[in-house]
């Protein structure tokens, strides 16, 4: 699995966690550190740091009834569970943000085409129960929504191929080259980050590749077993496109009308220009793939470097114009 999103541990999250932890530990004398960390979705180190704080806490410091919780490094022992009345240890209601975060995510995941029907049903049941339990706190969740983009039929085939460990044949459109190629791929996992992608081992290039599902023109599940080499799964939270330091640099200058480029292309820098435009520096393994961008920009921008790319865009535009002259002459 990819690593979980990295986030700084803060006092609010830790307090929230410790409040749930005391409820949980009260009912499980001798709980194993490993199990508790897994149940709470935290690292063992995080759990141990919570266990360092808990003995400093109690319902009344002066009364001397601090929580006597300790660990031998393997199991967790609570020697005076009575220090916390049964009432104070009851599970707490969900906060508005908690209900929103969980419900919005659950509703979004439930709309993913290709999610196994039994999983979707389970998710819908769980969502309804959480809504009820959250009560008023669930209200704000209707103000946030997320739609995952994915191509239903393609998604279902990829999902099935992964489950059955079978190879896929696809016809795939690559916008950079404006061409459709056929390839056999061994699918590894499906990833939704705005659009939905399949990460796979491509048998044509013998390399790991990511394919956007809405660019799959045709798909077939083959009888051959899928056998992707063991690859380390990347953490995709920083985005799917991660240019390498050695990739060539492309410099694009855009007028205000071309500022969208900075929104759509991951880039190293975007410097404001006096006319309200931007000077954008990005890196790509294949600068020729940006010819489309140069053509699209028109008077809203131009490629400054590399020269070959700027030239090829100019050349393509001239050729295209020649075709119009031809049609005009013929007509």
């Amino acid at each position: 699995m990819a690593g979980k999103p990295v986030r700084p541990s803060n006092a609010i999250d830790q307090t929230r966690r410790m409040l749930s932890l005391v409820t949980y530990l009260r009912e499980r004398p001798g709980a194993r550190i490993e199990d508790v960390a897994r149940a709470f979705g935290i690292t063992e180190d995080e759990l141990v740091s919570d266990l360092d704080v808990l003995p400093m806490c109690g319902t009344s410091f002066r009364g001397g009834d601090l929580l006597d919780i300790d660990t031998d490094g393997e199991r967790i022992w609570w020697h005076n569970p009575a220090a916390l009345g049964a009432e104070a240890a009851e599970p707490l209601r969900l906060a508005a943000d908690e209900a929103t975060a969980l419900l919005v995510a659950a509703r979004a995941v439930a709309t993913l085409p290709g999610l196994r029907e039994s999983d979707r049903q389970a998710l819908l049941r769980a969502t309804a129960k959480v809504e009820t339990a959250a009560g008023e706190a669930a209200g704000a969740s209707s103000r946030l929504s997320v739609t995952f983009e994915s191509e239903g039929g393609v998604f279902a085939d990829v999902d099935r191929a992964i489950a059955e460990r079978r190879r896929l044949w696809i016809r795939y459109y690559s916008p950079a080259r404006d061409e459709v190629t056929e390839r056999e791929i061994d699918p590894i996992r499906l990833v939704s980050v705005g659009h939905t992608y399949v990460e796979a081992w491509c048998r044509r290039s013998e390399a790991r590749r990511t394919f956007r599902l809405d660019r799959v023109a045709e798909i077939r599940i083959l009888d051959e077993p899928s056998a992707p080499p063991e690859v380390e799964l990347r953490d995709l939270s920083e985005g799917l496109v991660q240019p390498a330091a050695e990739d060539p640099e492309v410099v694009v200058e855009v007028a205000p009308g071309g500022r969208w480029v900075a929104e759509y292309y991951p880039h190293d820098s975007a410097e404001e220009l006096p006319d309200g435009g931007l000077r954008i520096i990005l890196r790509t393994p294949d600068p020729a793939s940006l010819r489309r961008l140069a053509l699209r920009l028109g008077r809203d921008g131009r490629i400054v470097e590399p020269h070959e790319l700027a030239d090829s865009a100019r050349q393509a535009a001239r050729e295209a114009l020649a075709a119009y002259d031809g049609v005009e002459a013929a007509g």
């Binding site: 704000a140 535009a317 295209a320």
Partner: protein
């Protein structure tokens, strides 16, 4: 060394949850070590009562963020007391089976925004404490479906809080083609993520109309304004339809183009009619909406627009701009 904030918050929460009668501020101050330390003479702060008061107010706000309902009660002496009643703080009974638990576990992992990721984990931990069955990960390491909700826009969090609390906001917004941002006063209604980008729908006070904003075009800080909403929030807020119309997906006419036989797959996918012309060319009929000219130019010499004349002129115009370079 100062006592860690989490320890202080935890003690305050346990005191408020454990008491049956309202506790006065003084009682709380005297029974929580971190507060005792904050008001101790020589602790540095001259007005240590002030600093305690500020700390106490902030701490109560933080606990309320976590969902704790803290009541304020005045006792017979006119002194204010605080308590977190168990009736108003208890999670209602909820029973989830292993499948439901696993599904929620998947959902809780999708946020890539610190505050919501933390809140989703917190929700799951509360449910876990209430007996949510523990994961037997049904998805496995391979064959896993990994949805992620991206949040790269700095404006997201302040807008989310503002719409939750129904507070008007003001921010600088740069329209797609504008050189300079303009200030917008907005009553935020809804946030929606579509194709990996976040949009805000709300009431634009300056224009007196509903508007949709793309969060990545908000420049600088989102600031809250005092006062209430002036317009009722509609039950249904449509964001996606508006954005689709920006993207030219609401085509109402059609265009005829020539396309080289081996090129332009996405144009073919959208075509309503395709005819082979021979000599390596096809003729296509495609929907014509806003933005089609820019898209067609991307295909360079592989596309020739036949009609309408207006689209043809736009494309030629764009090509000339590039050819001059």
């Amino acid at each position: 060394m100062a006592i860690a904030k989490a320890e202080r918050l935890m003690n305050l929460a346990l005191c408020l949850l454990g008491t049956r009668r309202p506790l006065s501020k003084r009682e709380l101050r005297d029974s929580i070590e971190a507060y005792v330390e904050a008001v101790r003479p020589g602790s540095g702060a001259a007005g240590s009562d002030d600093s305690f008061n500020r700390m106490f107010e902030r701490d109560k706000d933080d606990l309320r963020e976590l969902g704790l309902v803290i009541e304020t009660v005045e006792n017979l002496d006119g002194e204010t007391g605080y308590l977190a009643r168990r009736d108003s703080n208890r999670l209602p009974p909820i029973t989830l089976d292993a499948e439901e638990a696993a599904a929620l576990g998947l959902a809780a992992k999708v946020w890539q925004q610190a505050r919501l990721a933390g809140a989703a984990s917190g929700a799951l931990q509360k449910l876990r404490a209430a007996g949510l069955p523990e994961d037997v990960d049904p998805y496995g390491a391979h064959g896993a479906l990994e949805p992620r909700i991206p949040v790269h826009e700095a404006a997201f969090e302040p807008l989310m809080l503002a719409l939750r609390d129904r507070r008007p906001v003001v921010f600088d917004y740069r329209k797609a083609n504008a050189a300079q941002p303009g200030q917008r006063h907005v009553e935020p209604w809804a946030l929606e993520c579509w194709r990996g980008h976040w949009y805000l729908a709300g009431w634009d006070r300056d224009r007196g109309a509903e508007r949709v904003f793309r969060l990545s075009r908000i420049t600088g800080k989102v600031r809250s304004r005092s006062g209430r909403f002036t317009v009722p929030v509609p039950d249904v807020v449509t964001v996606r339809e508006t954005v689709a119309s920006w993207a030219g997906e609401s085509a109402d006419r059609s265009a005829r183009i020539r396309l080289r036989s081996d090129a332009g797959y996405p144009l073919r996918a959208k075509a309503t009619a395709v005819r082979e012309l021979g000599e390596g060319w096809d003729e296509l009929e495609i929907p014509y909406g806003h933005g089609l000219d820019a898209w067609l130019v991307e295909f360079g010499p592989d596309v020739v627009v036949l009609e309408p004349a207006e689209l043809r002129a736009d494309v030629v115009d764009r090509l000339r701009a590039v050819a001059k370079g």
